[in-house]
Amino acid sequence: MSTLLEKHIVELLQERNDKAISLLYDHYGDTLLGVANKVLRNEELAQDVLQESFVKIWKKADSYDPTKAKLFTWLFRITRNTAIDKLRSINTKTDKEIQIDVSDVYNLGVDSIRPEFMDVEEHLDKIEEKYQIVLDALFFQGMTQQEASDELNIPLGTIKSRLKIGLRELRKVYGPAMITFLLNIIG
């Protein structure tokens, strides 16, 4: 995304102009919905979370500091945290009421790539799954490398090298131009 657009959106946000929300939704809505979906694995809940996240984004606009993070990083943090809070509240409720083991934030592995999300995941087929899993642990599950090593039963050194390669591949294969192209297909 262009930095110019980012700047424009930030200006509108801080002027409390609600056009900012429309622009944010057009450019980041699908991606943020994907983020919420990754955490919750439930489209309906993800949509609720997206709504709550946008309200938070609107209310917290003053606290965004462009020198500390890119706009997307800030949006991602808010959406992911809102989704995690939602998941926790559902888990607590479920534990109390039905005692069903709901997969939690740190549940990871083959499970996280489910058939119902394959239409999304297929865009990632240019990156080997072993790298995808590590990237997923880092970006979505918020694991430390040590935690990923423990959880996935992979030596720490391997995690480190896979992460390095995964990040490099990601940037090489899906540079900004490629991303725009892919988003156009989705859209």
Binding site: D18, I21, T31, A46, W58, F72, V120, R171, I179
Partner: protein
């Protein structure tokens, strides 16, 4: 220094910071490293880009109507806020007005209370004064009207031949008065003062006002064998009588 950066990058702090999972202290440390070391800054920026790329690869097409739902909700919150501010301004204004009015009335009340105190004090003083005067007049009347009251004519000596006064003494009621009828004129810096010698002590009875209407009775302390004196003293009166300046005496 290289080692320090390597250790920092090897730790997960930068990744935790990226996702907003760091504590406040950790965030400060990360922000310091980002500001100080270009290598760290570059890694952080690459991570941010990778995050955006990776997240976009997981984008989910949002359903129809969700955008409208979200924008409508935010617009209504925005309106609510605006309305809240409008009410807040109105409420603040009303509060200021109320405070102003309260202060004005409080102030006025305070002034009136003060005035009230002054007036009631004045009334009390007047009352006391009146009672005193009435008491004086009654005593005078008793003395003057009493059959056992004796009247003495007092005349001035060589120094004040014109002085004429009348003293009334009542040994039964133990009250005495003097009425100074006529006083010779004195220079500006002098005055007449009344004294009484009671049991060997000189008591100051006060200054006799010149030019009075000749109707003023002065009370004299009563004692057996008391002597009253009138002296000429410097203006304003004296602590002790100037014996040389005695112009009249009344033995009673």
């Amino acid at each position: 220094m290289k080692e320090k950066i390597k250790i920092f990058l090897d730790s997960d702090l930068l990744e935790k910071y990226l996702l907003g999972n760091t504590t406040e202290i950790e965030s400060l440390k990360v922000e310091q490293y980002i500001a100080m070391y270009p290598e760290v800054r570059e890694t952080y920026n690459e991570l941010q880009e990778s995050l955006e790329i990776f997240a976009k690869l997981h984008a989910v097409k949002s359903p129809e109507g969700l955008k409208e739902k979200i924008t409508a909700r935010i617009r209504s919150e925005h309106q609510g806020r605006k309305r809240f501010f409008r009410y807040a301004i109105a409420a603040s204004f009303a509060a200021v007005m109320f405070a102003g009015a309260s202060f004005f009335f409080w102030n006025q009340n305070q002034d009136l209370q003060e005035e009230n105190t002054v007036v009631s004090n004045k009334i009390k003083l007047l009352e006391a004064d009146m009672k005193q005067q009435l008491e004086d007049v009654r005593n005078q009347f008793i003395v003057l009207n009493n059959p056992s009251t004796k009247k003495y004519n007092v005349k001035g000596n060589q120094k004040a031949k014109e002085l004429k006064a009348v003293a009334y003494i009542n040994p039964v009621k133990k009250l005495s008065y003097i009425n100074v009828k006529k006083l010779p004129h004195l220079p500006e810096d002098q005055c007449y003062q009344m004294w009484a010698e009671v049991n060997g002590e000189m008591l100051n009875l006060g200054i006799i006002e010149e030019g009075g209407d000749g109707q003023n009775l002065m009370a004299l302390p009563y004692a057996e064998n008391a002597v009253g004196y009138i002296t000429i003293e410097p203006k304003g009166g004296n602590q002790n009588p100037t014996v040389d300046n005695i112009v009249a005496n009344i033995a009673y």
